[in-house]
């Protein structure tokens, strides 16, 4: 018996201590299937680096960085709206990096002036609805925020919590920019009564709508196309005529991260035209002007957009979320 225990222990220790090649730890707010595309491509071009990564929604990455209190387990974070990156910068959780070529070519709208974060793509909030549901009820896809309050959608909508999800917070902030704070919260309260359930991840509702578990949801357009339409689910993408919100998808080095030099290699690569051309696989709009674009891509000039002030959204994030929880009770 003693021998068994000892050998189990030794085996365990031996397995744990097996040495590996250079490892880069990464947090990403992109969908698991999507993040895999970029990470595998990076590993293919950098065979000496092994990327170990965890997918968390943007709000969850922020919560985890706050929990890790300056000693993060990862060195880089990519994906998720810039609001969350700005909050992380204000909390002193990011490491500035201005030497990257990409940082220099980017328009100043799309990066932090001091280099704490950088934009890699643009995304627009849209509605996803199930075709069969629309046909069954003889209605058109929603083209106004207020269409979502139609009794036909009662208990049939799915969307993300504003605190866990960058998509969810972009939705909340968009409504504030559109209607003013009090009206926006009142609207969210009514919306919460139409809800089937809230999700932690912003793109989760796309699959749920595709499967018919719910009739409709609010998500980023690229997720709706990539996870819904392109996969063959019976879903429709539509936009609110009053105006919709958008995100600058971010990337940043994490202050105190264990392998910042490796992280810079990934950072530079992610800003390259080669890497951002891969965005077409997920119908994302790249910020590198030389990157190839996907067909059927949603671009800014096709849509009525609200005046989305990411800095204000970041500065008021904790307060808005507290108010949101207060009025909705979730």
């Amino acid at each position: 018996m003693k021998k068994v225990i000892v050998s189990v222990l030794l085996l365990g220790i031996a397995l744990v201590s097996l040495a590996e090649k250079k490892v880069l730890h990464v947090y990403t707010a992109l969908d698991v299937d999507e993040a895999k595309i970029y990470i595998e491509a990076f590993e293919a071009t950098h065979p000496d680096i092994d990327v170990q990564w965890v997918r968390l929604s943007a709000g969850e990455v922020l919560a985890r960085l706050r929990a890790e209190a300056g000693k993060p387990q990862a060195s880089l974070w990519f994906g998720g709206p810039s609001d969350t990156y700005i909050v992380a910068k204000m909390d002193g959780l990011l490491e500035p990096y201005t030497e990257s070529l990409g940082w220099q070519y980017l328009d100043k709208k799309f990066k932090d002036p001091e280099g704490y974060w950088v934009g890699i793509y643009l995304g627009f909030i849209g509605f996803v609805t199930n075709k069969d549901f629309l046909e069954k009820h003889g209605i058109e896809p929603p083209d106004s925020w207020y269409d979502l309050l139609d009794p036909v959608f009662k208990g049939e909508l799915s969307m993300a919590y504003p605190y866990t999800s960058g998509t969810g917070y972009t939705r909340l902030a968009t409504l504030v920019f559109l209607m003013g704070e009090d009206k926006a919260l009142e609207f969210e309260k009514k919306l919460s009564e139409q809800i089937h359930h809230y999700t932690r991840a912003g793109s989760a509702c796309v699959t749920e709508v595709g499967l018919g578990e719910v009739a409709g949801g609010i998500a980023f357009a690229h997720d709706i196309i990539a996870k819904g339409i392109a996969k063959g689910y019976p879903v429709v993408l539509s936009f609110p005529k009053e105006g919709t919100g958008y995100e600058v998808g971010g990337m940043a080095l994490l202050k105190g991260g264990p392998e910042l030099e490796l992280a810079k290699i990934f950072y530079d690569w992610m800003l390259s035209a080669e890497a951002q051309s891969l965005f077409k696989k997920w119908y994302r709009l790249p910020l590198n002007p030389e990157a190839e674009l996907a067909e059927g891509l949603v671009t800014a000039d096709q849509l009525p957009l609200v005046d989305y002030d990411a800095l204000w959204a970041a500065q008021n994030r904790d307060r808005l979320i507290e108010r949101w929880r207060e009025v909705t009770g979730y």
Partner: protein
């Protein structure tokens, strides 16, 4: 006082024992008490200032604070009642009615105990969700539709997951009731129903109470099912998880944890220190020879029918997970494929091997530690014995999610910084699952005559020698069984470790959950099937090893 002094002297006479006792107490203090203390501390501090603000808010009734508490209680009470009822019917059918096929039913009923709890929620969605098999059938032929998310789904999945616990408890209790008592009542002219109501049921009352309390606790601390199927019915565990992982609102998470901890620990204490003394064991001093009294054949068929239907549902649930794991895109394209397994064995293999590695290490350490604690607690009359017993067992009652938060709060910053390491997961496994080994070890040691190891001590063997040469070999079957269950519990564990997994140490259960999150039910089902097979494999090989050990032991005795 004098006795205490004698104990102390005794301890100093055996420095090895003293050292072991101090080490274990130190370990328990650091990895069991400290995290819980941190949770308590943080529930009273807001931005560095001591204040009961969140408790005040709790009682003044913030909707998002009080509602999950009430929801949790509603679910726990209903699930405890239903599980106990079903467990009683199952046990009664097994022990008293001798229904046909009882061995098969017994095997089916224990399946949910060893599989990950959230398998039930996954199966419920595959079966009763919008695209579920039963939903589809009912909608097509009867035009009936429903919504499985929320309270109904929680009751259904948790009852299926936890009624086997009630069954095992009730089986033990009913088996201990001397049938002669029931026979006497029948002989004295009482009807079968009257005998059941006036004799059997009162004798089974402590078991019923125990089952109610245990399932109540399990339901309160369940995380895997609610996170998948709660819909718009938030419960405490999921809200704690969201407060920490979604907002890092530590005071809120800690306060909700205390709110969750109070009823679970209360139930644990009542069960362990009060109820256990109230058991009516009807020992008559001689082995009972009377066979089980026959229930009326009507009752027997009713019992058989109930047990049969219930068992079929359990098998259907598991079958659904296995079937789902072979479908291309659940709900849209149900054609069969092996792609999900290809995914699990390429992308997921790393997570699976992490889970196996860490669970194996934790089981090795936890098994040895647990049996040592069990030995000291049952055999050695030392000071602090009760304390050691309580500390080693208390995490039995502490919800995993609370342990998880405690570890984040205690070990995120120096002096002991463990975030992101394998160690934090191993330590959580040990502190959360070791109670199983302690409990089994105590049960085994209480059956062994202390004379055997006392003889060894009297012949001059020290603590280590007695422990390794006499005690360990004697308890090895129970230890191996306890360790196999601990291993299974570690592999299927999610609620505590979901808080501390890192890019480097990501676990298979968390990977399964993230697939459910994005609606990839087929891949989730494949993960689930693989986990169940691993756990079944561990339990079955344990069974074989224990049986061969026992046989060897007996043949040696025979010589």
């Amino acid at each position: 006082m004098r006795a205490r002094f004698r104990q102390l002297k005794f301890l100093f006479h055996d420095p090895a024992l003293l050292l072991v006792v101090l080490l274990i107490l130190g370990f328990l203090g650091l990895f069991v008490v400290l995290p819980l203390f941190k949770v308590l501390q943080n529930s009273f501090y807001y931005k560095g200032v001591f204040t009961p603000q969140y408790f005040l808010e709790f009682f003044s009734g913030h909707r998002y604070v009080i509602r999950p508490f009430l929801n949790s209680l509603i679910v726990a009470v209903l699930v405890a009642g239903l599980s106990t009822l079903l467990g009683f019917i199952f046990a009664f059918a097994d022990v008293r009615a001798n229904i046909p096929g009882r061995r098969v039913f017994r095997w089916i009923a224990t399946l949910p105990i060893i599989s990950p709890p959230f398998i039930m929620a996954l199966a419920a969605i595959l079966l009763l969700g919008h695209n579920g098999l039963i939903t589809f059938f009912m909608r097509k032929y009867f035009g009936i539709s429903w919504n499985i998310y929320g309270l109904p789904g929680l009751i259904l999945t948790e009852t299926f997951a936890f009624f086997p616990l009630s069954f095992l408890i009730m089986e033990g209790v009913l088996g201990n009731i001397d049938p002669a008592l029931e026979e006497s009542a029948l002989d004295l002219g009482a009807s079968k129903l009257r005998t059941f109501l006036r004799v059997t049921l009162p004798l089974a009352t402590p078991g019923i109470a125990g089952s109610l309390l245990l399932v109540f606790t399990r339901s309160l601390e369940d995380f895997g099912n609610p996170i998948i199927i709660q819909g718009r019915f938030p419960v405490l565990t999921t809200q704690i998880y969201l407060a920490i992982t979604g907002m890092y609102d530590v005071p809120l998470g800690a306060t909700l944890s205390i709110v969750l901890l109070v009823p679970t620990v209360l139930a644990f204490v009542v069960q362990r220190y009060w109820l256990s003394r109230k058991s009516y064991i009807s020992v008559t001093g001689r082995p009972s020879t009377a066979g089980p009294p026959r229930v009326s054949s009507g009752a027997r068929w009713f019992l058989f029918g109930t047990v049969f239907i219930l068992s079929s549902f359990i098998l259907l649930f598991y079958g659904m997970v296995i079937f789902g794991s072979f479908t291309k895109l659940w709900g849209i394209d149900n054609s069969l494929t092996l792609d999900n397994y290809r995914y699990v064995f390429t992308v997921g293999i790393q997570y699976l091997s992490n889970s196996l590695k860490l669970a194996a290490i934790a089981t090795g350490i936890g098994g040895l530690l647990g049996i040592t604690v069990a030995y000291i607690v049952t055999r050695k009359r030392i000071m602090l014995q009760g304390l050691m017993d309580f500390l080693a067992m208390v995490n039995f009652a502490v919800p995993g999610i609370v342990i998880g938060i405690g570890y984040i709060l205690a070990f995120n910053t120096p002096p002991i910084q463990l975030t992101g390491t394998a160690a934090i997961i191993i330590l959580i496994f040990i502190s959360q699952r070791m109670p199983v080994v302690v409990r089994d070890g105590v049960a085994m040691l209480q059956q062994l005559d202390p004379v055997i190891d006392e003889a060894s001590s009297d012949l001059g063997a020290g603590f280590f020698r007695t422990f390794t040469r006499i005690v360990l070999p004697l308890v090895s079957p129970a230890l191996i069984a306890g360790m196999a269950y601990m291993f299974a519990a570690c592999i299927t564990s999610i609620s505590a470790v979901v808080m501390v997994v890192s890019p480097k140490w990501y676990l298979v259960t968390v990977a399964l959950l993230s697939q459910v999150d994005i609606g990839a039910l087929s891949i989730a089902a494949a993960y689930g099937t693989v986990i169940i097979l691993v756990v079944l494999g561990a339990i079955i090989s344990m069974d074989i090893v224990v049986k061969s050990l026992l046989q060897r032991g007996f043949s040696r005795l025979g010589k």
